[in-house]
């Protein structure tokens, strides 16, 4: 492997990893904010417990997103310096604005939320969480604006061989971004939905197994109490509410991703036809959506691929909204790309050893074809499971089956898989370009960059390999630590996030937290530190 391939692996690994933490942060943040709002409005102690419990898991996960996000920003300059020089005029701005307008907001107000339970008035404290959540949405927006510019460069003019921003409005309202943002946010919510559903299921199952909750003759739940802090009737209420919220969120977000994904498909058909064809491993022009294609999809050679089952018309619908438009296959697109962008990489030192090599315009179809299907499959599966879960729990609790409980817990992974598959598909489907040329009417066709030209020329393969190994190992270790902590806190239940349930008599009037801003009283520890590291 040369520096380019190692750098690509590194970008892929660090990004997919970072984007395991991010959707959970975005989705769970919103859910927790809603829970706290309900508690604020109604004073129902179950919602305070939900806020504290899910908020704790949110924070354990949030920190990993923060820690891995810095790598993302630095590695453009470190490993992709030619890319940074080429796109800096237009691509740097959304990144800088993300930090300045969104991430500052998110980190600062989240700090206020974590530590400010007693220093701030209840309403102000709640507002801090909402501000942080909105900050995370804006964060997503700016990052996707940057990414969308790589998929669909707009708002620039080429000057001295570099794209120079001439229309910021076009960049920040890029239609690719406007549909990708809601798609990503719904994808994040799907993750949160599955997370709530799986964990709440586990706790309801646990309560039944421990004999706290029983089921009457009519199949209806009889919630009980155990003489252990935090395992009372309110606890039952916490989990059944969480489960239902999770299931509803999962279904709504799947519908949202489907609708926005449909819009994305139509843009992709115009903007990146080769990606569309590669998503289908469609070699020849046609209208059918492949349910199963066999042969060596990864060979990039069309003679090896046979579409076994095809539904006619569906591909046309995905691309254009009707059932008859011929969607161009790889074979006819290949000639077009060769004519427009050349058959060989130019003899320019910027391409290093790859200068003059033949250009491979077809993305790795094994990845695009299965990535596309994995995204839709995992997403749909999670939504279907959520529907089934609502049905199974209609009488107030989960079945006793251990097998179903495990399914619900491992089902948490499905929306994560859908998110990862979607991103891998959209990024690998863009190859061999890092900035994809757009043959559509609104695109600027001659703004593009081959990935082969983007890597840092002064950095050795050894250096990048070092960072790839170091980061991958650290990421693996930290994933184990994060999951272990999450499991520990999940098993601990609400009490793990609310020590006051264990150390003080349970008071149903849990919202009566003292909030006087008086002077320092000796020993009044709670006034200084509502939460302590």
């Amino acid at each position: 492997m040369d520096a380019l391939e190692i750098a690509r692996w590194q970008f892929g690994i660090t990004t997919v990893y970072h984007f395991m933490m991010v959707p959970l942060t975005i989705g769970l943040g919103l859910v927790v904010a809603v829970m706290q709002t309900v508690w604020h409005r109604t004073g129902n102690p179950a919602y305070l417990r939900m806020t504290k419990f899910w908020g704790k898991l949110f924070l354990i996960n949030f920190i990993m997103g923060v820690a891995t996000g810095i790598v993302q920003e630095f590695q453009f300059g470190m490993a992709w310096s030619e890319y940074s020089r080429f796109v800096g005029d237009v691509f740097g701005a959304p990144l800088a604005l993300e930090a300045l307008l969104a991430f500052f907001v998110e980190s600062t107000f989240l700090g206020l939320w974590i530590f400010g339970w007693k220093q701030l008035k209840q309403g102000v404290h709640l507002a801090c969480l909402w501000i942080a959540v909105v900050g995370s949405f804006f964060s997503a927006y700016f990052i996707i604006v940057a990414n969308s510019w790589m998929q669909h460069p707009v708002g620039v003019t080429m000057i001295d061989g570099r794209p120079v921003m001439t229309d910021a409005w076009a960049v920040f309202t890029n239609n690719t971004a406007l549909v990708a943002v809601p798609h990503t946010l719904f994808g994040a919510l799907a993750v949160a939905g599955g997370f709530l559903l799986g964990i709440a299921w586990y706790h309801l199952w646990r309560r039944r197994r421990d004999g706290i909750d029983t089921v009457g003759a009519d199949g209806k739940i009889i919630a009980g109490e155990a003489g252990i802090p935090g395992r009372d009737r309110t606890d039952y209420s916490v989990w059944i509410k969480s489960l239902r919220i999770g299931a509803v969120v999962a279904m709504i977000s799947f519908a949202g991703t489907a609708l926005t994904g449909d819009l994305q498909g139509k843009l992709m058909f115009e903007q990146q036809p080769m990606k569309m064809a590669a998503a289908e491993a469609a070699c020849h022009d046609g209208t059918g959506f492949s349910v199963l294609s066999v042969g060596n999809v990864g060979s990039r050679n069309c003679d090896d691929i046979v579409a076994l089952i095809e539904v006619p018309g569906i591909l046309s619908y995905l691309a254009k909204g009707d059932f008859t438009t011929e969607v161009k296959g790889v074979n006819s697109l290949l000639d077009q790309y060769k004519a427009d962008y050349g058959t060989h990489l130019p003899d320019n030192p910027i391409y290093g050893d790859r200068a003059g090599q033949e250009i491979e315009y077809v993305p790795v179809m094994e990845v695009t074809y299965w990535g596309f299907r994995a995204m839709i499959g995992f997403g749909g599966l999670a939504a279907l499971a959520a529907l089934v879960a609502l049905w199974l729990t209609r009488k107030g609790t989960v079945p006793e089956s251990r097998w179903l409980m495990r399914l619900a817990v491992f089902g948490i992974l499905a929306p994560f898989g859908a998110n990862a598959a979607g991103w891998i598909f959209t990024e690998m489907g863009r190859q061999p370009f890092v900035v994809a040329p757009n043959p559509d009417l609104n695109g600027i066709d001659q703004v593009f960059m081959f990935t082969a030209a983007a890597v840092s020329p002064g950095v050795s393969a050894g250096e990048i390999l070092t960072s790839l190994i170091v980061l991958t190992l650290i990421y693996a270790v930290l994933l184990v630590v994060e999951v272990k902590l999450l499991v520990k806190y999940v098993r601990g239940g609400v009490a793990s996030a609310m020590p006051e349930l264990v150390h003080a008599p349970v008071d149903e009037n849990e919202d009566a937290t003292p909030r006087d801003g008086g002077p320092d009283k000796p020993g009044a520890s709670d006034d200084v530190l509502a939460f302590a590291y």
Binding site: L59, I63, A67, I70, V71, E73, F74, F76, M78, A79, S81, E82, S84, R85, V87, G88, G92, A93, A96, L97, E98, L100, F104, S107, T108, G111, L112, I114, F115, G116, Q119, L120, M165, T166, R206, G211, I212, T214, G224, E225, A226, I228, S456, G458, V459, S460, E463, S467, V470, I474, V481, L485, V494, P499, G523, S525, V528, L529, A532, Y533
Partner: protein
Amino acid sequence: MELLPTIWFIAIAVLWTGYLFLEGFDLGVGMLMKIFARNNTERRVLLNTIGPVWDGNEVWLLTAAGATFAAFPFWYASLFSALYLPLLLVLVSLIFRAVAFEYRGKVDTDRWRNTWDWAIAVGSFLAAFGVGAALGLTTTGLPLDANGDRNGGPFAWFSWYAVLGGLAVVGFALLHALAFLALKTDGDVRHRARQWFVRLLPVLLLPMAGWAIGVQVLSGKAWTLFVLAVAVVAAAVAWAQARKGNEGRAFLATGVFLLGGSASIFGAVFPVVLPSTIDPAFNLTIANASSSDYTLGLMSIVACVGLPLVIAYQAWTYWVFRRRVSAAHIPEAHSFLPAVAAKALIRKD
């Protein structure tokens, strides 16, 4: 005179200074975890002084890097790729440090806490040193060719200025942290921090003074020499105020020292943003490294609105958490039972 690139050069100098001012003390507090705090309670006192704010402070680094990317893409590309391995070390340090803050208290064993304490201390030290080395090098030069790429292999960036810059930021961060702890804690920690501050000030500020003087020798101007003199006076004031027990003034004076030192360094280098040690003709300057006026103009408008807002709400955060933390405030670590009921405890209604 190139107005917008000049403004953005100043803006980036301000962002770096803001980063060193704010994260300076939380990096320093991190380093002090192992050399200053005597027991677990004191370590928790230290952590809780920076708990609500360190993450917001760290965003200054992201903003400085992002603004450099947007305003001077060639500077960002050359500096970050040339310093590949040192920046990898900074990233790894920041990852461990961030995770350690959050995870340290999550398992109630000495071994667990000790592991993360080391992560905080070493991570803070290496992050401070690495950022300092990068700043030291961008003000004194790297072996860059005509394309702005590093020549000479993975370690060609090394020069004694890297070490000096690294030590400068480590030293400043430690001192600033001592001033911060004297201001934010009570009891034994407060008094010891003030003692350490008075005793160590000359040693801890020496490397930054050395770096600033070195840059003056390389490319100093009359006004930057004057600003440097102001910084030295501020250091003396900080020392005198700390001796008198005026913790707030000592903290501010250390801040003025940083401001003066940083202004004298960035001012001396201007208009070069990254000198080439191979050939001055390859120097990156505000003219040849910057983005278009359109992009800089857009960024200026946003920054004029955004930056004061950031400063305002971050200042508010410090106001909300203004009260001193002392050992008496630290609650006992709580361990919790897994929510698994022993059958005997269950009562059925």
